[in-house]
Amino acid sequence: MNVVAIAALFIQLATQGGRATPPVVVASKPFGESYLLAEMFAQLLEARGLRVVRRPGLGATEIAFGALRANAIDVYPEYTGTGLLAILGEQPMGDAEAVYARVSREFRVKYDVRWLPPLGFENSYAIAVRRRTADSLHLRTLSDLGAASARLRAGLTPDFIGRADGLPGLQRAYALHFRDVRALLPAVKYQALAAGEVDVIDGYSTDGLIARYDLVVLADDRHFFPPYQAAAVVSPRLAKDNPAAIAALAELSGRLDDEQMRALNKRVEVDGTSVATVARDALASLSLDGATRATDVAASTGRDGMSAYMRAHWREIGHLLARHIVLVAVSLLCAVAVALPLGLVLERMSGRAESVIRAVGVLQTLPGIALLAFMIPLLGIGVVPALVALVLYSLYPIVRNTFTGVRDADPAAVAAARALGMTDAQILRHVRFPLAMPVIMAGIRTAAVIDVGTATLAAFIGAGGLGEPIVAGLALADTRMILSGAIPAALLALAVDGGLAIVERWTQPET
């Protein structure tokens, strides 16, 4: 009777939980303006009494949009031009309203994804050079750049280099032939330009960093770049189930112009004010504010020193470090559980072993972002796909070392064991495996150290870890933030390597 009652209670609770509106998952892509807009969405939703989960800094367009389609996130800021060219794969068109109409219809039909009305400002690509370069070569427009490009080196975001609406199209439109093109991440990109390592970079027209580094944006005199109006894109589930959230998000439509956005971006990217603070101030100035978040980071504003930053954020960093350790530990255990038996099985079927191991090795060459993007339809975003990716990346060194360690175990000892009447299974268990232990441990150690580095990728799909401040810091050109993730990650790698070295010594057959 009691059991039935408890079961009934559980079912009641579970169904109630199911009926209650789930939190709205707000995400962004990994660059400053996207972080800021997402935080504004989140605070606005909270001000309207909705629960919010934040997933900032998702890898790239494929990952953010893939997650939205799969209902793994509910809303993130996107740009109409990106939707048209990068997601729909269509040709650029000139008129802003026509582009918005096109993407909002096509997204609804093809993906069941909704574009809310645009926020009001445009943020196009901006090709920028140092003021000195512009002056000495008399550069004002991209046509001017075309003539001078043979002497110049470009440092462009990987995204931009690959996209049809990026470098390939731009080269055709303006007859550009750069002396050299390098792929650079945002933070590095601006610093490289300032240091004279490259001469031309791609930025965003509303970028705060353009002002910070005193750069000249060259005019798009042939109107190559399509309009990039910013708007909230909304998942099928949110559009269907949560009209209150849609209404709240729509309050921002048409409220932000180019100048306001540039000023907001500057506060984040140049002044170093926290995203949460800038978002709150922005909502307040638009009279859209409500509740202030209690969890707001003890805003260490300004560009003060590294140690002050670490002191102000140690609690957060501790949480990220703990999450990082969990990601590494769980993925490593799973990888050992898969790779070790696989290595032992492969030793028994020596004929096909090499091809299987090579196939496992190919997994490791897959680009992380591509692998993560590929898994979103199957596993969504968050910890699970991150763990799967980490396991796949850890398999190779363990399988390889287990296989070769067991295969090449002291041939004289193995031959003697067989001649004295051990079965193959006994030889494997009592001779080959213990003799291979140091080699196997070395493989596990290699995998673990690689894992600590690779786990920073988890930030791209919202699984947290020390990659979060690294990705955000790169996006916001905030060196302290990058180091607050990178230094603990490096120390963790050293600690893991040292710890496993001790374990490795224990497994040596001789004292």
Partner: protein, 261 residues
């Protein structure tokens, strides 16, 4: 080319091979080899590399299965016996000792006893160590890598003898040792063999070792037995030109060594 050691009856025959043939690809390793070995006898298989002596030895415990012919141990056709069970009844000493480097001496010597489920493995391993001249109190807890080459071979012999096998196979057991250690071990082994009246087959390329340790010497060449006889008979009456040359070469090599000693 079937030659048998004379003066045996079927009751006391521990090992016999009949027309044993083995090919590796195009190479004939064993070509219809036949022999019989009475209980307590010690057979030395001698010949150059590639003469088939090690392959023949390995057919006795089914590390090699012949293409044709029959090998019998204790009167039973070995091809009808599970090779793992067979090997547990036959002692084996490889050239390099083949000690398991992750086990201490004691555990190494217990190997066959434990495989056979002997209840008093620890005790019997210790007496085997004593038998080969190693004090268990000093050596039982050592790691193989901390032993000299001669000590390692003694442990390997103890391991092979601990299970009290009916037949002991040794594959060039002293080949990798320096001359003095080798002489010590040969003496020690000859003593043990006599005490236990153990039936042994020894592969060697050293004629002096064969003459010293064997009751029967089989000279092998190209997969066949040229001559099988007692050491005295072999020296006195070599059956073929090849055996004669072998003896002459060994004598030339031996003289300076005798002068030194």
């Amino acid at each position: 080319m079937a030659v048998s050691a004379a003066g045996t009856n079927s009751q006391s025959i521990v090992l016999s091979a009949e027309r044993v043939t083995k090919r590796f690809g195009d190479v004939s390793a064993l070509d219809e080899v036949s022999l019989t070995l009475p209980r307590g006898a010690s057979l030395a298989l001698i010949g150059e590399s590639g003469s088939g002596k090690t392959t023949l030895l390995r057919t006795f415990n089914r590390l090699v299965d012949p293409d044709a012919g029959v090998v019998c141990v204790d009167g039973v056709d070995v091809s009808t016996v599970d090779p793992v069970q067979l090997r547990r009844r036959i002692g084996y000493v490889p050239q390099d000792g083949g000690l398991l480097p992750h086990w201490r001496v004691q555990r190494n010597v217990e190997l066959v006893l434990r495989l056979n489920g002997a209840p008093d493995a620890a005790e019997r391993a210790r007496s085997a160590l004593t038998l080969v001249g190693l004090d268990p109190a000093r050596f039982a807890d050592r790691w193989p890598r901390k032993l000299s080459g001669g000590q390692r071979q003694r442990v390997a012999i103890a391991r092979a003898l601990a299970g009290e096998p009916s037949l002991l196979l040794l594959d060039e057991p002293f080949g990798a040792l320096d001359a003095i250690t080798r002489a010590d071990l040969q003496d020690a082994f000859a003593g043990i063999r006599e005490r236990l009246a153990m039936t042994t087959v020894l592969v060697t390329h050293d004629l002096h070792e064969a003459l010293l340790l064997a009751t029967h010497v089989a000279v092998m060449r190209a997969g066949k037995i040229e001559q099988i006889a007692s050491p005295e008979a072999l020296v006195a009456d070599p059956a073929t030109a090849y055996v004669k040359r072998l003896l002459e070469r060994a004598r030339v090599a031996a003289e300076p060594a005798e002068n030194i000693s």
